[in-house]
């Protein structure tokens, strides 16, 4: 139990040489996928297919197939949207914020987390669009010049969402690609297959590892990180505005932006841990994605889980303190009304179970961490469910109160989104380096000069 916290643990364990690092990361790309890979792919593909079928039915017969009713017009589709956008927050946080904070341990997990961000935002993007019922008309979400002088409403949070999510997706994609360029060049120079070489050459754009280029490259990375940081905070802030800018009790609260951002990081990290635990095992990356990394992420999960817990408590306090009857009713109804089951699932998964992470033993135990992060994922889905559904189902007019139950199609589409996400993740692990080769090389032992009178610690 004698841990020396004064010195940072090395970002990479096991004293790997530069060439060994490269071998490790590039091996999955050079070998043929094995049976396990195809089994995993077929499972996720089946989920995706279930979603596609449910969607096709919804398009053909209309969204009356879903459980949405009056007054719960924003139901599971919006829950799923917020859930996936939230998951998408970990990647940029790890790659941008931790970069600005000079956390070297981020290098091992950044690439993977960024990829997950992109896939999660893709999943998220589906839901608001299908929720309109006529997704092929989504082009009208953009301000385009037309003879009716008909413009989108720039003062509406829903439009801010369109801009925020699409900007976030584009910037994450660009950020990810920029990180991939040197790796594409490395892969290009080591491959023997002609087709692969052509593909890698195209994507590497002709990168030569030139120091004159590295200089601009590092600057660009810095600038992009500087932009991505406020961007990632703005995205979930704006998502929370979808709720907070309305005047519905339970939604109309100023705590929403920080509360949503904390929740997003919480769920995003949980998802990253869920996936990384498998990836590091399957691809033998235990030395690059080390137990220290997982432990650090578990600490973040603990911290953000407490913030979310604080927000839950604060909402009740403000409801009582405001003296607004409708507000008080909504919160009592949340905890003890017809949806109490959802509320207590949320509280236990998000606030109670993560407390186990106070103990170092649990933070470093793979089985315990697996259970907790999966519970967190469940809990965070229920958090959005509770916010959306319980605030709507009993509105100001008791005559219109109703109980909302999602239908099999709602659930099928949710499964489909998981299918899409994991299919993309699985394809990614075999087609691109899951760890940034150049970044990890740069933090390996002995990778940086020892005495140059330099400006680094």
């Amino acid at each position: 139990m004698n841990i020396d916290y004064s010195q940072e643990a090395p970002a990479i364990a096991g004293r790997l040489s530069l060439a060994e690092i490269e071998e490790l990361v590039a091996r999955p790309l050079d070998t043929k996928p094995d049976r396990k890979y195809f089994i995993a792919l077929s499972i996720s593909g089946s989920l995706l297919l279930i979603g596609a079928v449910c969607l096709a039915f919804s398009f053909y017969y209309g969204i009356g197939l879903w459980g949405n009713n009056q007054p719960v017009g924003w139901a599971v589709p919006i829950v799923n949207f917020v859930f996936w956008v939230g998951i998408g927050h970990a990647g940029t946080l790890i790659s941008a914020i931790l970069f600005l904070l000079r956390q070297k341990w981020r290098t091992g997990i950044a690439r993977f987390a960024e990829a997950m961000t992109i896939f999660a935002v893709m999943c998220a993007g589906i839901f608001p669009v299908i929720h309109t019922g006529r997704p092929w008309l989504a082009g009208y979400l953009l301000p385009y010049p037309n003879q009716h002088s008909l413009w989108v409403n720039f003062t509406s949070p829903l439009l801010w969402d369109v801009f925020a999510v699409s900007t976030y997706f584009t910037v994450s994609l660009v950020f990810w690609y920029i990180g991939l360029i040197p790796d594409f060049a490395t892969l290009r120079d080591r491959t023997t297959s002609k087709i692969k070489k052509t593909i890698y050459s195209i994507f590497s754009l002709g990168w030569r590892h030139s120091s004159r280029h590295w200089q601009h490259y590092e600057k660009a990375y810095m600038l992009l990180a500087g932009f991505a940081t406020p961007l990632v905070l703005s995205v979930h802030t704006i998502v929370s505005f979808d709720f907070a800018v309305s005047i519905l009790p339970g939604w109309h609260t100023t705590i929403f932006p920080p509360y949503f951002v904390a929740g997003a990081i919480f769920s995003g990290f949980a998802m990253v841990v869920t996936v990384l635990v498998f990836v590091r095992k399957i691809f033998n990356l235990e030395n690059i994605i080390t137990m220290d990394h997982l432990e650090k992420m578990n600490k973040v999960i603990l911290a953000t889980g407490m913030m979310v817990g604080y927000a839950y408590g604060m909402e009740f306090f403000i409801a009582w303190y405001s003296g607004v009857q409708a507000e008080q009713f909504v919160f009592i109804n949340r905890a003890f009304g017809p949806y109490a089951w959802a509320y207590w699932i949320m509280v236990s998964c998000n606030v109670i179970f993560p407390q186990l992470f106070w103990f170092r033993k649990f933070r470093r135990s793979i089985p315990v961490m697996m259970v907790i992060v999966i519970l967190v994922n469940v809990g965070m889905w229920f958090e959005r469910f509770v916010i959306t559904v319980t605030s709507l189902h009993r509105d100001f007019l008791p005559s219109s109160w109703a109980y909302y139950t999602p239908t099999i199609f709602d659930m099928g589409i949710l499964l489909g989104s998981f299918g899409l996400f994991f299919t993309l993740v699985i394809l990614f692990t075999k087609s691109l380096p899951v760890v940034s080769i150049s970044e990890v090389k740069a933090v390996a032992e002995g990778a940086q000069p020892t005495h140059h009178g330099g400006h680094h610690e």
């Binding site: 490269e22 053909y60 409403n153 720039f154 003062t155 509406s156 120079d189 120091s211 932009f227 000069p449």
Partner: protein
């Protein structure tokens, strides 16, 4: 051998050596040289005496452009082109415009930084650089560090450069040549075929989705619905019509039945219940211009604007028309006359009377007597001479 020399490359094993090599190369006065490493080596820009990157300027300029463009667009659409009050906010609701402004700023700044860096600072894509596919490149891509002194340098002299590089104790030296014949991968038949196929597929898919797909179920703008549209047949009713007629004698709200409907030369007509007040005449003018003027002309002269697509009506200033009673003109509007259709369904009762009053004004104005020019007696409202 007529290979053209690009430069001479030296390989090193450790980051310390490369820093030293870079420093020495600068000291020796070479300017066209480059250092290659599999990852950015700390302190190399100092050793190479590189000026700080100017990339930030692109970011700044395009970021500010993004904010300005976003604000301008929102200002123009929401306060100039189609001003509309939303949620009681002013037309230019700055706080509500902040989120979009921020997003557009970030988007434009990021894209400009990256595209600017790749195209302007790196001059990429450049897959035909002489360094590609050399042993040297394969090594620096993996775990070595290297310096290349280029032949285009002012002080370049092959033997001297060799000597200089050897003095740095590299693990190997390599001469790098331009490729012998210039290749144009863009003109390769395979690549051209690829482009053609992409173009064909893209246009085919676009054509299909815009012209065919959008007219198929379920993309047909909710065209197909279980409900009955007007004029559709229905097997449910004995007469086969989908539309139902109201029960005999049903009267619509606010509707007063017109007793002389269908009579061509009614012996009796209604009395005009409206006085030609200013508002009434304004209303009459507006409705006359909308409904009557296309055929009768703006002043009732019968100068139709329909360019012969419909027979020109007679002038409304004929003695016959002037001698019509108000009720008769009302009758013509309500019932129609010969080829002039009835306007009962388009113009309300009150508007019809207002038009009648307005036609009276037109008739009076077109047939003014000299006595009309005299000053109006303000007290009686009559012409002074009357």
């Amino acid at each position: 051998m007529n290979k053209r020399l690009f430069g001479i490359a030296a390989l090193f094993k450790t980051p310390d050596e490369i820093i030293r090599a870079a420093k020495k190369t600068v000291e020796a006065g070479y300017q066209k040289y480059d250092v290659h490493s599999p990852y950015p080596v700390h302190g190399i820009d100092r050793a190479m005496k590189l000026k700080p990157s100017k990339l930030g300027f692109i970011t700044l300029v395009f970021g500010l452009t993004g904010s300005a463009l976003a604000l301008l667009l929102m200002y123009w659409t929401m306060s100039v082109d189609y001003p509309m009050i939303i949620g009681g906010k002013p037309f230019f609701a700055l706080p509500a415009f902040i989120p979009v402004t921020f997003e557009v700023t970030v988007l434009l700044a990021t894209l400009a930084t990256v595209i600017g860096m790749i195209t302007f600072f790196f001059r990429f894509p450049e897959n035909d650089h002489p360094l590609h596919d050399t042993e040297y490149m394969k090594k620096v891509s993996r775990d070595h560090f290297g310096v290349v002194i280029e032949a285009s340098d002012k002080h370049f002299d092959e033997s001297k450069v060799r000597e200089f590089l050897s003095s740095l104790h590299p693990i190997s030296l390599e001469e790098i040549y331009y490729s012998e014949k210039e290749t144009y991968p863009v003109l390769e038949p395979k690549f051209v075929t690829f482009l053609v196929v992409v173009a064909l597929v893209t246009s085919g898919v676009t054509y299909f989705s815009l012209n065919k797909l959008l007219y198929m179920q379920p993309f047909t703008w909710m065209m197909e619905q279980p409900k009955l549209n007007p004029q559709q047949p229905s097997t449910l009713f004995a007469d086969g019509f989908g539309m139902r007629t109201p029960v005999q004698g049903t009267v619509a709200r606010g509707f007063i039945p017109y007793p002389y409907m269908g009579q061509n030369n009614p012996t009796e007509v209604l009395q005009n219940p409206f006085l030609p007040t200013k508002e009434n005449l304004k209303l009459g003018e507006a409705k006359y211009l909308t409904f009557c003027s296309p055929c009768h002309g703006n002043f009732g002269d019968g100068d139709s604007r329909l360019r012969g697509q419909f027979p020109n009506p007679p002038s409304l200033h004929s003695s016959r028309a002037r001698e019509f009673s108000d009720g008769m003109i009302y009758h013509i509007i309500t019932n129609g006359q010969n080829i002039m259709p009835s306007y009962a369904s388009q113009i309300t009762r009150e508007e019809r009377w207002a038009i009648v009053n307005y036609i009276r004004v037109l008739q009076r104005a077109k047939n003014a007597k000299s006595s009309d020019l005299q000053v109006v007696n303000k007290e009686t409202g009559n012409n002074a001479s009357n």
